[in-house]
Subunit: 187 residues, 2 copies
DNA sequence: GCTTGTCAACTAAAAAGTTAGTTGTAAAAT
DNA sequence: ATTTTACAACTAACTTTTTAGTTGACAAGC
């Protein structure tokens, strides 16, 4: 039997990511994570102190990866929206984990990486508004919230609407990109 | 001790609504609901079969009430968005319960009231597009998804953005109404 | 007295977390 | 080069805590 702590940790993190994305913090089962990783349960407590701490590790890793993946471009917000949409479609776990986090950790410590990334985006937006590249009808934080909300359109859709939602991913993407274009348009 | 089955049920439903909104299905605790309602735990099982069934009851009641409260007006989508926003701000539990439901009940039975209400909205939207009242760049379902997403802008905001979010509710409302106005504008 | 509402105490099962002991590995000692 | 030693990786079984759900006794109103 080979022994490889790093490999074991990776297996656990992968399994934990799937489990938390599917069931949330309260719904996740330590035994299920261990079984699905093919690793002994005690290893979880050896490498990650507790269930809560395991979730934090998973969430931080996911968030960092997600932030790096999608580059912000204040000169092309519709393009940014499209890339963000692609990222969410390719990694639906990201959206679910973030939603669980917001629901189950209403007072979680703000992640430094996210704070920094948002500050940078707000700063760029402020600059673009000042320079006249973007209209001044919305504040920077308002642009950011609106773009994010529009990108999440198909995720926040109620299940009852499900069957009517366009099957074609390209179409769903085009709707979002076009909507953002209209939000930032000069009259 | 006074005996009033209806009163007891109401107390339990109120407590259960708060509990499920705060902690979700997996995170909710039957003992906490009973304690917060000031009612014995066994009453829950007497009036509502199980934890799952209690959640369904809470969710159906909340959904029906929420649907009735906000009237749809295809001739004034920005106004509808504003009223929906007000409803969500006044009853934040509604948004949380719906989100929990989407996460924890991915294959829940579609609620008849919601299905009917959505069908009616889609039908009206189709009519408005055909009549030229609304632009034809988006399908009915796309309008609905976009409007809902925009209304939820401040709810889907990541916590790290929290401090930057406008404190003024009227301003947050105005942003949403204006955004919807732009989405339905003719060029 | 019979039905229905209420309650405290109980049960069974599930879940998180722990422990005592085993095994592989790699470096030090021979 | 082999053996020894030390430690990290690992395991199975265990303990403790939590939680959904139950029961049987008692009380209130008809």
């Amino acid at each position: 039997m080979i022994r490889d702590a790093e490999r074991t940790k990776k297996l656990l993190l992968k399994a934990a990511t799937d489990e938390f994305a599917a069931y949330g913090i309260a719904g996740a089962r330590i035994d299920r994570i261990a079984a699905s990783a093919g690793v002994n349960k005690a290893m979880i407590y050896s490498y990650f102190e507790s269930k809560d701490n395991l979730f934090d590790t998973v969430f931080n890793a996911m968030t960092s990866a997600s932030l790096e993946q999608v580059v912000f471009d204040v000169a092309d917000l519709p393009g940014y929206a499209g890339r963000l949409f692609d990222s969410f479609e390719d990694n639906p776990d990201t959206v679910r984990l973030t939603t669980w986090y917001q629901l189950e950790r209403p007072h979680g410590t703000p992640l430094h990486a996210v704070v920094a990334s948002n500050a940078a985006k707000l700063h760029e937006l402020r600059g673009a508004i000042a320079a006249g590249t973007l209209p001044d009808r919305f504040e920077p934080v308002e642009f950011l919230a609106l773009v994010r909300a529009v990108v999440l359109s198909w995720s926040t859709t109620v299940p009852e609407l499900g069957p009517a939602v366009p099957k074609d991913r390209a179409r769903r993407r085009a709707v979002i990109v076009d909507a953002v274009r209209r939000l930032i348009a000069f009259d």
